[in-house]
Amino acid sequence: MDILQILLSESFWAASLRIATPLIFGVLGALLCEKSGVLNLGIEGIFAAGAMCGWMAVWLGAGLWGGVLVAALAGAFFGLIHGILTVPLGLSQHVSGLGVTLFATSLSYFTYRTALPTVTSPPRIEPFRALDIPILSDIPFLGPVVFQQTAMTMLALAMVLLVWYVLNRTALGVALQAVGDNPDSVDAQGLSVYGLRIGAVMAGSALMALGGAFLTMSAFDAFFFGMVNGRGWICIALVIFASWRPGKALLGALLFGAFDALQVRLQTEVGAMVPGQVFLMAPYVLSIIALVLAARRAEYPRALLTPWFKGQR
């Protein structure tokens, strides 16, 4: 099969969007946190918590959308911890984020093991099924690629629009961007810097958790240890690649999805000549290259990583 043929096939682009879905949630979540001035390295653990909580809620009979809600709440909870540590207390965002990752991961694993002490093969749930939206899914090419995905992929695409709209077309969005650029100006207007930042971190973390929930509730139908496997960290790199813009975040996630889908399809062809690990390594190498290229012209939120205290200049 030659590459051009793959690139023109519907199944390839459908797979790309599917693989990109958790990244879309994750990048949007990280973007929202960073826009408010707070780097959230808790993402890798929040993914795990979303995956575990969403799965467990469904397993206990909460229903699929109940699972989505539980996952989002779990994400918001870990976001609250990170928010309190980094915003009013002004502690190192790097270290707090790593602490949240360790805490969320170990708490999720501990809870899963405690609930299912002896199971060797993980119990499965009935995951989201692919939608078949009438009319839209009959559109040539676009139909099968976009409109025959699961509801969570639809939700991810809707979130791109929502985050873009809120950031660029609402007063809340203006305040949120200002608090990440110049918190003093926000304070001078009588708005709460702490409130805006903690709120943004909680909302962003809830989005991250949905990326994790996609893994258990849409992609696979069970929870595994180590299933997040670095997806969170790739999102952190993608935010920089996207220059903190929701549209480019979608593009970046799709590029990664496409690359991943391509490597799976090419592995059997090229596998005889190149060790399979080269393909596994490629997304991470690509992330670093994207990072180096983007770092030159990065328009960081100017107050990113800088704590702000009321009454101190």
């Binding site: 602490g99 949240v100 360790l102 690990q277 990072l291």
Partner: protein, 356 residues
Amino acid sequence: MRIEPRNAPSRLMTLGVPVLSAVIALALAAIPLALAGADITVAYGEMVKGVFGSMFAFSEMLTRATPLMFTGLAAALAFRAKLWNIGAEGQLYLGAMAAVAIGAGAVDIPGIFLIPLIIILGAAAGAAGMAVPALLKTRFGADEVVTTLLLNFIILIFVQMMLEGALKDPMGLGWPQSAPILDQGMLPQLMPRMRMHSGLILALVLAGVAQFMLARSVWGFRLRAVGENAAAARHAGIGVNRSLFGVAILSGGLAGLAGVSEVAGLKGYLTADLSPGFGYTGIVVAMLAGLSPVGVVISALFIASVFVGADSMSRAMGVSSYLADLVVAMSLLCVLVGGFVARYRITRSKPAARAA
């Protein structure tokens, strides 16, 4: 109510906060333990027995603490300069790969030459692993947090590739593992029938050297200046990038030694599951230690006790051993809050009028 920085955190606070944080984390762990249905006092009793119950248990704890001392030192030194090296896990594997590449028969020389060679090359490999993100940071401004994190994944996949390729043991019955290090290349054991090895001595010596260098040498002064205020350091004529690069090399080298010590002190050969996250745990060790090299030794002993103790507790009580990771994570969060309490105080008074 307002938050004010304390003039100078008292000595009692700097020492007391990490200890108190560790105690609080252990106490908080009682909640998940109770939810899991375990008898708390029995569980903690088993934990203590698992560390101090026998000479063997105690030596197991020291064995576990050894790599954590290396990775803890790696994190502590880098963090002092505000260089966020999150890549100790990958650098550990680079050190271990270098150790088996040279030690498993590439050269057959007496141990008195082979052991130093393994140590030096292992440290160099770890240092090289950290030189890349340091270069990307100083030359291109690429955030080292993300690059070191991503490199961990790249290196681990590379290890798997090598273990199925160039480093694969031809006698290994198809398992992805390296050939064993020659007997004379193994670090000497410290006691018969115990697994603890002289890597521990090396870690203790390096912690002492690092403490002295940091407190007394010009290099240490520069490093601290860069960490506290890079702009002021630059203004004072300190080559900030040079200092950062230097500490990056040291930090990577120390993490590489963690890999050397595990592979040449304990396991004998390399597999892809050599480290259960020693690189990441090292960050917690360093934070609990307040980024002090001597403190790293103490907090590595504490964290190792938690892991070894929780292991034996989970065997005795049937509680998931992920409890150890949970305690470690909670210790980190507690010490963060504790560090804040030590540096600031909350007062009710109105802010004093500023002098005009």
